[in-house]
């Protein structure tokens, strides 16, 4: 068994080298470095960003392929259990790989879309580097095996994000979003760090499994542990944009460049969840901790409030992007059900359902924000009314947007239908009827506001003729690609559901 921090003990010898297991993370990091090199060599970039975007896209795509390959190869899954690397500081298992797939997919889509979005802007290299570094941080978050690596990788994901949000330096909205995001983020990371210190105080350990072992015998320091656990939860709540740590989200998503919003609301949120899943499932394992520190109650409250606030606030927005931002908060609430419903006998199912939802959400929400990016590219405006009649001008993109909206709303035009109802199944199966009822109400409301977008696109007559200049290839490819995957995830959900549920179940073995 793995010892404490820093004591590397090779357990069952891994059949492959560490670097292979970490290939996706390494690929991402290397790509970031490569981008630095390219930018140093050719700071003027004669290709207008093409080389940078291409490199970044290839890098993320390779990481995606690597993650999928590892997932299919069964690395860290099945009989041998998770791969513990560097003394358990990093863990490669089904869940880590599953989420790496989410991050790299989203990053690929966003980078492909950014090529058009960033055309004629300065500091493109920095943009891609920051994005790749953030992705690297997220991939590391998924693999974190101790609170120390959790904190470091979380910061590695966060710090580039702050800069990305404020990327449009001359845009007041972008800068305002950046400062708010940063301030709330700094506060949250302070709370998170303090929480970690308290947990350390209660257990004397930072490794997740070590904490679990320490807690299995019970603890005298219930109060310290409890405050620590909740503060750690607060840190994750910030990352996942859950109430009451969500305040940055609507602003950041609205103010940031749309591809960055897509990236943050999909990948960053998923990263927050994966680390929360791992920490709470492994370190504060429900059997040992919930009796004294009922964090499922905390997540129950968070889930209820988050989905309600997110959806209700989204219902009356005027701007599509802000509506999506709030809806993103609402979806965080849905996923939180996975945490709230742990310790009820269906852990694999409920956690797996949340994971599936995050995967599908990665595509449909990214696609939706990228459609907004497309609209920003066309400069048609930001409100619902500004989207009127787009369906006749750009039918393909609008069909894609319709798929995203209905899939987000949980209608069977995309994988969002399956994942949302899997979550509902989980809530019912664990007896959380109140959460199920709240999900029902919110879902109805979400159907209303999502269909407002559809209504603008297809049913309304445009107020004045919208001139759409050009159909940018990269944005289109990303939007359509996301739509196709979203749609295919409906019949093809079985491709991911088994992996998700078994990966989730593996945490509790």
């Amino acid at each position: 068994m793995t010892g404490g921090l820093g004591v590397g003990v090779l357990q069952t010898a891994p059949p492959i080298g560490d670097w292979v297991a970490l290939a996706p993370v390494l690929l991402l990091a290397l790509t970031a470095l490569a981008l630095f090199v390219i930018d140093s060599v050719d700071p003027d970039d004669a290709s207008g960003g093409g080389a940078l975007a291409g490199t970044a896209a290839v890098g993320t795509l390779l990481a995606l392929v690597a993650a999928i390959a590892l997932l299919i190869a069964g690395i860290g899954q099945g009989q041998g259990g998770a791969l513990r690397l560097y003394g358990g500081q990093l863990i490669v298992d089904g869940m880590a790989l599953f989420f790496t797939v989410i991050f790299t997919s989203v990053a690929t889509l966003v980078i492909v879309a950014s090529y058009d979005y960033l055309r004629d802007r300065v500091y493109q290299a920095e943009y891609y580097v920051l994005m790749l570094l953030a992705t690297t941080g997220m991939a590391l978050m998924a693999s974190s095996g101790s609170l120390a690596t959790v904190f470091i990788s979380l910061e590695l994901a966060s710090l580039p994000s702050y800069a990305l949000v404020a990327f449009l330096k001359d845009n007041r909205g972008s800068v305002e979003a950046g400062i708010k995001y940063f301030l709330i983020g700094a506060l949250s990371s302070a709370i998170f760090a303090y929480g970690i210190s308290l947990v350390y105080g209660a257990t004397g350990r930072l490794g997740l499994e070590a904490i679990a072992r320490s807690l299995s015998g019970g603890t005298q320091l219930v109060g310290i542990l409890g405050v620590g656990v909740l503060m750690v939860a607060g840190g994750f709540a910030f990352k996942t944009a859950s109430v009451p740590f969500h305040f940055w989200a609507p602003e950041a998503y609205e103010g940031a460049p749309a591809p960055v919003s897509a990236f943050l609301s999909s990948a960053s949120k998923a990263a927050g969840f994966v680390v929360a899943f791992r920490v709470f499932a492994v370190a504060f394992s429900p059997e040992a901790v919930v009796a004294s520190v009922d964090w499922t109650l905390a997540f129950w409250l968070l889930a209820a409030v988050t989905m309600t606030l997110g959806n209700f606030a989204a219902a009356t927005q005027d701007k599509v992007k802000r509506m999506l931002a709030y809806s993103s908060v609402g979806h965080a609430g849905y996923v939180l059900i996975g945490l709230a419903a742990l310790n009820s006998g269906q852990n694999g199912l409920v956690l797996g359902a949340s994971m599936i939802h995050l995967l599908v959400y990665g595509f449909m929400n990214t696609g939706a924000f990228l459609f907004v990016a497309l609209a920003e590219y066309w400069e048609v405006g930001r409100t619902f009314e500004d989207y009127n009649g787009l369906g006749t001008q750009a039918p393909i993109a609008c069909v894609a947007m319709t798929v995203f909206m209905f899939s987000l709303a949980g209608l069977p035009v995309g994988g969002g239908f399956m994942s949302k109802y899997f979550i509902l199944v989980g809530a019912v199966g664990t007896g959380h009827f109140l959460l199920a009822a709240l999900l029902l109400i919110n879902s109805a409301l979400s159907l209303y506001y999502y269909s407002r977008v559809v209504r603008s696109l297809w049913f309304e007559e445009p107020a004045n003729s919208i001139g759409i200049e050009g159909y940018p290839l990269g944005l289109y490819a990303a939007v359509v690609g996301a739509a196709v995957v979203t749609f295919l995830l409906l019949p093809g959900i079985f491709l991911v559901s088994d992996a998700a549920i078994s990966a989730a179940s593996a945490l509790f073995v």
Partner: protein, 100 residues
């Protein structure tokens, strides 16, 4: 030897002072400094408990936190600069174009 409880109380006090600073001050720089206080409160805990448990984990981690705090401040000040350039102020309550 000072009992670990006192370190805990100290760190809690520093954490609360930092929090109070965040809640009351509008200047971004004060905000950043308060965050530093809160992070250092965590550091105090880590070091104290590290000593208490006799392992170095906490102390090593506090180094990481310090480093990350520095990085955070770097990013923060960068954003603060563009804030000042756009809004002509470093008052965090001035930037309210995005709301509701």
């Amino acid at each position: 030897m000072v009992a670990v409880q006192f370190y805990l109380l100290l760190s809690a006090a520093i954490f609360c002072i930092g929090l109070f600073g965040i809640l009351t001050r509008r200047n971004v720089l004060f905000f950043l400094m308060s965050v530093e206080l809160m992070l250092n409160a965590a550091n105090i805990n880590l070091v104290a408990f590290s000593f208490q448990y006799g392992n170095l984990t906490g102390q090593v981690f506090s180094l990481f936190i310090t480093a990350l705090a520095a990085a955070e401040v770097a990013v923060g000040i960068g954003i603060m600069l563009v804030l000042y350039r756009n809004f002509g102020d470093v008052d965090v309550t001035k930037a309210t174009t995005l709301r509701w």
